[in-house]
Symmetry: C2
Subunit: 514 residues, 2 copies
């Protein structure tokens, strides 16, 4: 077999089931190898940001890496923003970049570039593959690196002659690096601190946000009367009726400081202490106020679930039942459509088991607040903060969980970054319902302008933050990519639209006109 | 004034007239400075690849840099592909990246990344700005670097506290580095070689492709009976009836070798010797065959027009009139729509003075061949090879030349990379006519698959190279962004559609169904 076949077989044997790709000339042997080896589902995308974002959503829901196939430096660069998100989320992903043949590098052909320099900032593991006989091992090592804790983007640059060269040899799955066991002394210290604290709060990292992790966190919370919280943009959180109530760290630094002012112990469980999303004039950088002790039970690189379980055991039987969200579903909104009624409509109608991808920005908080009691669901947020994550991440989540409905609650400005994902949803007949929060502006930037002291935006500030003139017509955009859709301009209309969307198999788009 | 105002005023005083942007929080003070300073036109885009691609088209036609405003590492990364093209074309562009406040860098906030590592591969000049009092000078130096020969991408990373900090001071325009004068001995050697050569060919670099450069090249060609050629993807070429006939280096390496097999002297005038666009098994890397002497008159970094003028003088009066394209316009096609009739229709109808942006890939050569005698026009190609350049480059060209019609002859697969440019065309009422070559496939990749030995593509190869199922509906996509459009499925229908498009002010899209 050639090098490409060895690489693909090594990945397949290691458990890779899906390949998202927008390949080019230097990946043709890798594409041919997908056919020769078989067993990996090919999912095309019309832009690389969709490729890497879909792999992000897939990893969040499948818990294992997909393969992303990208083309040279510029094609890879198009995928960087969503790889940045994946890096911040610690999500596994194997990226193969087809590069020029090694003997062609000196020629500095038009598409040649410094791929390593582009890839380093987003890659937890980065290597330029050796010749064909080594490519199987390179791929297996990339996969093991991606699957280590915390997971990460493993980027393998594949010279074309390594792919087409003879002498490839597939390599069986290599073991990922296992996260170190919890430190017993840390557990004891955390237990002691929790017993002594008057107003403790547990900040839960991404390893703890599945049902088992949350149940364990709830045990600790019950025994210690601690509040539970997650990062502003959690990687994945099980939420809704009957599940432990979990708060979210707010977005603006002064809000975080206010929230933590009432906390005397911040216990970090596989999470980092909060920092400001942006720095502001005269503002703070690290957001743990004086009088709040930050204590790390486990770092994101450690086995946080084991540490939390040990802590729960150390604390003993719960004195109180853990707080859970009420089972009463939220009511249906009526009247005008605004962020609150939009969030309420989605929360009321989202089916049990839904996966909600939330890149709604200024419409996100009203939905978050309104969906506490929604039917049990999985919530995925914009970890990393690079916009254009929603449509592709929803696409990948649907590939990972074909039996679960996926809802992409999507800001309009951000959605335009990767709208090409709608085509992949149509191509693959994915059950993704996109709800566009059409406020026709970069609303968050209007807020940021005000924070920058610009009370009355001038012509440039206005032109750079308004999406009107002409207004985007998302129903036409969706139709252009084979996705049916409709527009709603009141809460009642939105309720009717959402019901139609949820009753229609396959992708659907609702433009909610705010 | 603050640092941002000093930077913007320095750029404006240095001749920057347009700012393309998709700003975020860390650029709000720079946006506010655009309003405070005035005199720079703000042109918004809905994706950063449109920003940098529009600056590319603007620079090609205006001959000077625009300002691009990008957001942190991920926002910048979205613009890298078209910056790669600008780098390969040697086009000037000043890029300001708003980064986190310097005192916030240590916090490693979610959107923090290694911006320098991302920017280095595409930047001819790269700097992290100093504090506010230095920002004016930093901006002026960036502008001078961009305007040097060969032009380039000058990237200035602006920490937010440098932008908002006090004590800014605008700096008057600094002189760009002037390209070195031609080497007299080189000129003499080139003249001697041309006199001795039986079948010489002049390969003209980007500095020579305006009317003055081509006229000079035609004088040399007339005196020496040399053929004239340009790179496969010229930055900018004046073409059409009455202008010197210029060949193009073909795309595939074996075609280049065949073309140059009949050449005994390849005179490089501000151009590099041809290399393969991609390496193939058993193929060549550098494409100057034995028996063909490559001689450099001027490098792309030198003053190639002066060198060519000196050569023309050395060769003396022309023995023959230079070959020019006939004035007879090409005829209108009829019958089926295919790449040939599509190219013929555009060539026949394009108005005098049109700017033709050609990212048509497999439909590009038929148009090139069919438009030799078209009305005089300016031709811009996909220099650098990173797809998704056409729609934004056409947008920027229209901003630079508001009185000239712009035609974007656009492959469908590539167009999907940066379709958001259509909205900017509508927002700015630009006279851009987009003609989508809708073959509904990555046709070039089917050819590349065959070259890789895959005669019968398997399921993965098929899925990754077909754009059907569902077919893209470009008319709906355009409508979604406020651009009117229509579909044509025969040569006759296309002729009627193009006439309507050209008669309609503002942007228009014609989907040519192949």
């Amino acid at each position: 077999m050639n090098g490409a076949e060895a690489a693909i077989q090594s990945l397949r044997d290691g458990g890779v089931e899906v390949c998202f790709a927008n390949p080019g000339t230097t990946e043709m042997h890798l594409v041919a190898a997908l056919d020769a080896v078989g067993g990996i589902r090919p999912v095309p995308a019309l832009f690389e940001g969709v490729v890497t974002g879909a792999a992000d959503g897939y990893a969040r829901m499948a818990g294992r890496p997909a393969l992303s196939l990208l083309h040279l430096g510029p094609g890879f660069a198009n995928g960087i923003a969503n790889l940045h998100n994946a890096r911040r989320a610690g999500l596994p992903q194997v990226v193969l970049i087809g590069d020029h043949a090694s003997w062609h590098a000196d020629a500095d052909a038009p598409l040649a570039s410094d791929v390593e320099s582009l890839a380093r900032p987003v890659s937890a593991w980065l290597r330029r593959a050796g010749p064909a006989p080594q490519l199987g091992r390179d791929a297996a090592e990339a996969l093991a690196a991606a699957r280590s804790v915390p997971g990460g983007v493993a980027t393998l640059i594949v010279p074309a002659d390594s792919a087409w060269g003879d002498g490839g040899r597939a390599v069986a799955a290599l073991p990922p690096t296992v996260a170190p066991a919890p430190d017993g002394a840390r557990v004891d210290e955390a237990a002691r601190a929790l017993r002594e604290a008057a107003r403790p709060l547990l900040l839960l990292g991404p390893q703890l946000l599945d049902e088992a992790g949350l149940a364990c966190a709830a045990r600790v919370a019950a025994a210690s009367e601690a509040r539970l919280a997650v990062d502003t943009f959690p990687v994945r959180l099980e939420r809704g009726a009957g599940r432990p109530a979990v708060e979210k760290i707010p977005y603006f630094p002064e809000q975080v400081l206010e929230m933590l002012a009432s906390v005397d112990l911040l216990l970090l469980v596989g999470a980092r202490a909060p920092v400001a999303f942006f720095g502001y004039p005269g503002g703070a950088s690290r957001l743990v106020p004086e009088g709040c002790r930050a204590l790390e039970l486990a770092s994101p690189e450690q086995d946080a679930p084991a540490a939390l379980a040990a802590l729960a055991d150390a604390l003993g039987t719960a004195a109180h039942l853990p707080p859970v969200a009420a089972a009463a579903p939220p009511g249906l909104p009526t009247g005008a459509l605004d962020p609150r009624s939009l969030g309420a409509a989605v929360a009321a109608l989202q089916p049990e088991g839904a996966i909600v991808v939330e890149e709604a920005l200024t419409c996100g908080l009203p939905y978050w607040l309104g969906s506490v009691n929604a039917a049990p669901h999985t919530y995925l947020a914009l970890t990393g903060g690079a916009i254009g994550q929603g449509p592709p991440s929803a696409t990948g989540a649907a590939i990972a969980c074909p039996d679960r409905p996926v809802i992409d609650l999507q800001a309009d400005g951000s959605g335009m970054y990767t709208l090409q994902a709608l085509w992949t949803q149509a191509r693959e007949s994915l059950d993704v319902k996109t709800i566009v929060c059409a406020n026709r502006s970069y609303r968050i930037l209007r807020i940021e302008l005000a924070r920058a002291g610009v009370a009355e935006p001038g012509p440039a500030a206005t032109r750079f933050t308004e999406l009107s003139d002409p207004a985007l017509d998302w129903v036409s955009l969706a139709r252009g990519m084979g996705v049916p859709g409709e527009r709603a301009d009141s809460a009642d209309a939105l309720v009717a639209s959402l019901r139609r969307a949820l009753a229609t198999p396959g992708p659907y788009l609702v433009e909610a006109l705010l």
